[in-house]
């Protein structure tokens, strides 16, 4: 008791934090229970009827859910397969700039878009890709690539390319930071020795730069892969519209739609979706973390 009294200030300092996580993180975990109930707000969490795995069974029979699940995995996988290597290449190219101020300038501007919200990004790109007077359409038409303005934001086939492009525009510069930091840790003498041996730039990149950051690449790839069920809620919600909703619906946005549109009716199913996502996410994280530990040994991290 005396010991507790001596630590009264530490306890006082930590108490708000304890309560914060209790209320905002641990209370909602009770949602696991809701997902096994036929949830009735009037009866509450404690008295609603239990229905076992019924909600999950309903879930897997729902076309909406299956569509959202497929979209989520497809969009995440596309981002991982196309944008991840692009980010590494971008970092390598920045690293090859030999003029100090120019390298700094490119790097600094490249992560400007990262700090604005997706609401802003969507507003800007809706305007740029607009059909009447959008800069992109004006440019493509005047160059003769398009005969008439193309309605980018209302085309089902154009949606994924636009999503990938805007994602790269917004986040590539920022994601490249870790690789650039890792590249700067490579010993300059290695490059000098390679030059003596007559290795050209591409050989230097291939034989020195890439192996030098191999572990960071593997580690970041694995960490990114563990977010397979997070396809980018903010981006999907802000960039999509009714025309492309079939393509744009991911698990996160479907749950949000259930909450906003279905009201009380959607609570049990919506919760089951969230729990499904949380468990798969956790499983992916554990597997990926295990793989990352194996790959970590001599990375800079």
């Amino acid at each position: 008791m005396n010991k507790l009294y001596r630590q009264k200030w530490l306890i006082a300092f930590a108490l708000p934090g304890f309560l914060f996580f209790l209320v905002f993180s641990y209370f909602p975990m009770y949602g696991i229970v809701i997902s096994f109930q036929d949830f009735d707000v009037f009866k509450g969490v404690f008295r609603s009827d239990f229905v076992g795995f019924d909600n999950f069974k309903t879930l897997f029979d729902m076309p909406d859910f299956n569509n959202a699940l497929r979209n989520t995995i497809l969009i995440s996988a596309l981002k991982l397969i196309l944008l991840f290597p692009a980010t590494v290449v971008f970092a390598l190219l920045i690293n090859e700039i030999s003029t100090g101020w120019f390298r700094k300038f490119v790097q600094t501007t490249s992560y400007l878009p990262y700090f604005v919200s997706w609401v802003i990004a969507a507003g800007i790109w809706y305007k740029l890709l607009s059909i009447d007077g959008g800069v992109v359409n004006d440019l493509l038409v005047s160059l003769g690539i398009l005969k008439e303005p193309f309605h980018f934001m209302a085309d089902k086939d154009a949606f994924y390319p636009i999503i990938l492009f805007t994602e790269a525009w917004k986040n590539m510069g920022f994601s490249a930071i870790i690789f650039i930091a890792s590249l700067s840790a490579i010993d300059v003498q290695q490059y000098e020795a390679a030059k003596m041996d007559g290795a050209n730039r591409f050989r230097q990149i291939w034989h020195i730069s890439l192996p030098g950051i191999k572990n960071t690449i593997v580690l970041m790839f694995i960490l990114n892969a563990s977010n397979l069920l997070r396809a980018g809620q903010d981006q999907m919600w802000t960039m999509s519209n009714v025309t492309v909703q079939q393509q744009a619906e991911i698990l996160d946005t479907l749950v949000l739609r259930y909450l906003k549109d279905m009201g009380l009716m959607g609570y049990s199913i919506g919760t089951a979706m969230g729990i499904f996502q949380a468990f798969i996410g956790l499983a992916l994280f554990i597997v990926c973390n295990y793989l990352a530990k194996a790959a970590k040994s001599d990375s800079i991290l």
């Binding site: 708000p16 190219l93 490249s110 730039r201 996160d252």
Partner: protein, 292 residues
């Protein structure tokens, strides 16, 4: 890094990088010039590089619309109150966690780490917020964001690296943990506190999700929410809600041009703080990756 004579590769690479920079900056520049151009003149199109007919009309219209001003006030409220409280609680919690002899240290470390890996999901969170009376309550912008595990980790790492001797001498002089925190720890950690302040400030400024999810009354929306609605309803060519505003704007502005001015007002604060932010990114990014 490695100085080389400019060769073909360097030239091509330089050009590619210039193009990349252009794509990053130009969209912002474009929105800026349209927002400062006369709205009716802007409808003729062809605005690419500079303002053709300078005008403050769009900005005037925004500052005359009470719903927009109200939204910016709410945004400012959450940025200021939310960030100050976040900073205070993060510092206190991280400080307690760095004290090796603290009885609850191990327990509280796990207590904050577990939510990073598992969450109950959106709907149960909504039910909890509802039970707490936070739906349609501005405190929903502040309370659920009082702490973030990632920020606690950044601060904890920093505090662990502070020389122990500083605190030990104060303890010998009979300073309580309370005095230790305010007189030694807080002053010494200003740089890292500034970093966390900028991160949380930008989050509060940018967050649209809380307003969208927990506010059914649009009077309680933040600027990001109003902007999102204008962008989305406009695109669905449902200008019903905007025409109401247009009437107030006496038709000297268009929905499109006001949107551009709103984009500028909502972007500028972030662009102003980001040079300060970027000083600390690399460190933050590294920490973020190690946490796993």
């Amino acid at each position: 890094m490695n100085k080389r004579k400019p060769d073909l590769f360097a030239v091509v690479n330089g050009l590619v990088m210039l193009l990349f920079t252009f794509v990053c900056i130009y969209p912002f520049y474009y929105v800026l010039i349209v927002s400062f151009n006369d709205p009716l003149d802007a409808q003729r199109g062809g605005l690419y590089l500079w303002v053709r007919s300078f005008s403050f009309e769009n900005y005037k219209a925004i500052f005359q619309t009470s719903e927009l001003l109200n939204a910016y006030q709410i945004t400012l409220f959450r940025v200021i109150v939310g960030s100050v409280l976040h900073l205070l609680l993060t510092a206190m919690f991280a400080f307690a966690l760095t004290k090796k002899h603290f009885v609850f240290r191990k327990f509280l470390t796990w207590w904050m780490l577990i939510p990073m890996y598992f969450s109950g999901g959106l709907i149960p969170t909504y039910v909890v917020m509802d039970m707490l009376g936070l739906v349609n309550n501005v405190m929903v912008y502040v309370l659920p964001h009082l702490l973030a595990t990632f920020h606690i980790l950044i601060l904890r790492t920093f505090l662990n690296e502070l020389p122990a001797a500083l605190e030990e001498s104060a303890v010998i002089d009979g300073a309580s943990d309370f005095a230790l925190f305010w007189r030694i720890v807080v002053p010494l950690s200003t740089p890292v506190l500034a970093t966390v302040a900028l991160f949380i400030g930008v989050f509060h400024w940018n967050d649209w999700f809380s307003g969208f999810t927990y506010m059914t009354s649009e009077d309680l929306w933040t600027a990001q929410n109003v902007l999102l609605k204008i962008i989305q309803t406009n695109e669905a060519s449902n200008i019903a809600s905007i025409s109401k505003m247009d009437a107030g704007f006496k038709a000297t502005v268009t929905a499109e041009s006001v949107k551009m001015a709103m984009l500028v007002i909502t972007t500028v604060p972030v662009i102003v703080v980001y040079p300060f932010l970027q000083k600390y990114f690399v460190k933050g990014m590294m920490l973020g990756s190690v946490k796993g």
